[in-house]
């Protein structure tokens, strides 16, 4: 695996030079039809990361009066970055189509991360969550086909399979079974910290998106399906969020978040084919380096610590934005029957009572994920193409 060592060394663009206009923030969107699906994957991922940058900094400000001004200043830039990125999604995406794209992000990015994550327990956690988002994709694809008459593959562009995985029905677990062991701040690799911050951010955005658009659907099944899967995404936020060491100081978490933004924008920049979008990744990489340096200075000032204690060593060269079909299939074949019990992964026969009871209650009046996908077999051009006129 190729690695990078000097990514975080540059000073980047200073915060007072990070400027925007309304017109550029709401500029031309991508083409749903002509742009590569991975351009959209990157847009969704980066919006998730930027909105999490806001979230972390707003919560930090509740606890740290001495940092409030700096937090407000950096946050304003994150706000405008988030806008410029998210507004790249064009209006011809129906909310369900965007949902399919969100699950593609969850699958392809988590699969990439699972393969470069050096900590085996953390990697196992990514594979565990990955199979659940893989199943969500199948249920939502059935919903898209059966509600709007559309083919999910028009969004996925062949990169991601549309098949049942660990059924959504069994994703519903007691909260105590969604907690995981965290990495140790002193011994964990930088990339482990970056991965945890990044995947938590992505899942948080997915959760918030489903919570926002769920009630905008008229169809009762769609409303039920979003209610059900939004709950699983909250479980995913719980799971991935607990991978982080609670012993890190707020400034340490902030520093890692900025390093994660640097790392993610660099991966986008290296792999983007749309030149207009590539220019945005390049600009924002420079902005994030500015944030990283600023937070490093705050750490020296307020904690008398050298940020290079945390930001050091090498990181994998890239988050690989490409189809992870083989890895996903292998994971599916080997780990579909895994369940979580406390912080451990166990075979389904050893699942605990807490999650079984929890799920039986929630599922007792019907399960939307099952109702929408009964007998669903994806085919190019929707399932209706399987019933050719004879």
């Amino acid at each position: 695996m190729e690695t990078l060592t000097s990514l975080f060394d540059a000073k980047g663009c200073p915060l007072d030079k990070q400027k925007f206009t309304w017109r550029e923030m709401a500029s031309k969107p991508i083409s749903k039809l002509d742009d590569d699906a991975f351009t959209r994957v990157r847009i969704i991922l980066m919006n998730g990361i930027e909105t999490d940058a806001l979230r972390l900094k707003n919560i930090g400000a509740r606890f740290h009066g001495e940092l409030r001004q700096a937090l407000a200043q950096v946050r304003r830039c994150e706000q405008h970055q988030a806008t410029m990125v998210n507004w790249l999604l064009s209006a011809d995406h129906s909310p369900l189509e965007t949902t399919v794209a969100y699950e593609q992000v969850a699958i392809e990015v988590t699969a990439a991360v699972a393969q470069t994550e050096p900590d085996p327990y953390q990697a196992q956690t990514y594979r565990f969550g990955l199979l659940e988002d893989f199943d969500h994709l199948y249920r939502y694809s059935a919903m898209l086909d059966r509600l709007e008459g559309k083919d999910a593959n028009n969004i996925l562009q062949g990169y991601t399979d549309i098949i049942p995985s660990r059924p959504t029905t069994v994703h519903h677990r007691a909260p105590e079974d969604d907690l995981r062991d965290s990495y140790q701040r002193d011994s964990a690799a930088l990339i482990t910290k970056i991965h945890a911050a990044m995947i938590t951010a992505a899942e948080y955005q997915t959760h918030d998106y489903y919570m926002t658009i769920g009630p905008t659907f008229a169809d009762p099944l769609a409303r039920q399906l979003y209610a059900e899967i939004a709950s699983v995404e909250e479980q995913h936020v719980t799971q991935y969020g607990s991978l982080q060491d609670p012993g890190e100081s707020f400034l340490e978490k902030w520093l890692i978040h900025e390093a994660m933004e640097v790392y993610a924008y660099n991966s986008c920049l290296e792999q983007e084919e749309n030149p207009r979008i590539k220019a945005i990744w390049e600009r924002f990489l420079d902005y994030e380096l500015g944030h990283l340096n600023l937070v490093g200075e705050l750490m020296k000032k307020h904690e008398r610590r050298d940020p290079s204690e945390i930001i050091h060593g090498s990181v994998p060269k890239l988050i690989e934005f490409k189809s992870q079909r083989e890895f996903v299939r292998k994971t599916l074949a080997e780990e579909i029957d895994l369940r979580a019990k406390g912080h451990e992964y166990v075979d389904k026969k050893n699942e605990g009572h807490a999650s079984r009871d929890y799920r039986n209650q929630l599922n007792s009046e019907g399960i939307a994920a099952e109702a929408v996908s009964a007998g669903y077999q994806w085919a190019p051009g929707t399932e209706l193409s399987l019933k050719k006129a004879s």
């Binding site: 742009d35 562009q157 062949g158 299939r329 009964a374 051009g381």
Partner: protein, 239 residues
């Protein structure tokens, strides 16, 4: 504005990625659906939900029914006032939206390099007629003692129906033909809406109202025919 239809690198189809598509298809043939049944399961829940659903809302009680003024509503025959008021509210909302659709379309048409001035003038004319039509409906509702500022259930629902038309026309990326196609959807429905409303007003013994609506219907027929003509010209021009 990109007004011509072009061949390009559309990535959405299975044929654009034959290797991936083969793999994808193989996967969905090998990993069978895990839940037995078919789309009827979904239909069943829909039916259950429809059976127990609440209504969108209600038609507001007219002033006269609250005993405030004696109005024509009391003299309605053969039709319940709420149905007439609801459909009047619908037409009012539709015409108001129609004005905005024309305004959005005119702004877009200005971006065309060789803009057809005559077409623009006609669009402006139609826009003004839509505005007059909404005043016709306001007058009718006032005559009946109904509140033209309330959103009736049918008014609300046509707002939902027309959201796609509005999304299409207000998107700066859609070209003239695509926008006209959306507008035609509105104008065809609009024609049927006026016909039905006239029928309803007649049935209610409101001949002065139905007569005032005849003029609107005649103009709407011209709108629909004209938009249909523009659309076919615009598409045929590109052939």
């Amino acid at each position: 504005m990109q007004n011509a239809t072009k061949m390009g690198l559309n990535c959405t189809g299975a044929q654009m990625s034959p290797m991936d598509s083969k793999e994808q298809l193989k996967a969905s043939q090998e990993v069978r659906p895990d839940i037995p049944g078919n789309e009827r399961k979904l239909a069943l829940v829909r039916t259950e939900e429809a059976a127990k659903a609440d209504a969108i809302g209600s038609v507001p009680i007219p002033g006269s029914a609250r005993g405030m003024v004696k109005t024509a509503l009391n003299k309605l025959v053969g039709v319940s006032p709420e149905v007439l008021i609801d459909k009047l509210g619908e037409r009012l909302a539709f015409e108001r939206g129609g004005v905005r659709l024309y305004e959005a379309l005119m702004a877009k048409a200005q971006a065309i390099d060789a803009v057809d001035e005559q077409m623009l003038k006609t669009m402006k004319h139609f826009r003004d007629e839509e505005a007059e039509h909404l005043q016709l409906v306001v007058a009718a509702m006032e005559k009946l003692g109904a509140d033209p500022t309330a959103m009736t259930p049918c008014a609300d629902v046509v707002g939902v129906t027309n959201m796609g038309v509005l999304q299409t026309i207000s998107d700066p990326r859609t070209n003239l033909a695509q926008s006209l196609n959306a507008l035609l959807t509105a104008e065809l429905t609009d024609n049927a809406g006026w016909e039905l409303l006239i029928e309803l007003a007649d049935a209610a013994g409101q001949s002065s109202i139905s007569e005032s609506f005849e003029k609107a219907l005649a103009q709407e027929q011209v709108h629909a025919d004209t938009v249909r003509g523009w659309l076919s010209e615009e598409v045929m021009r590109q052939v």
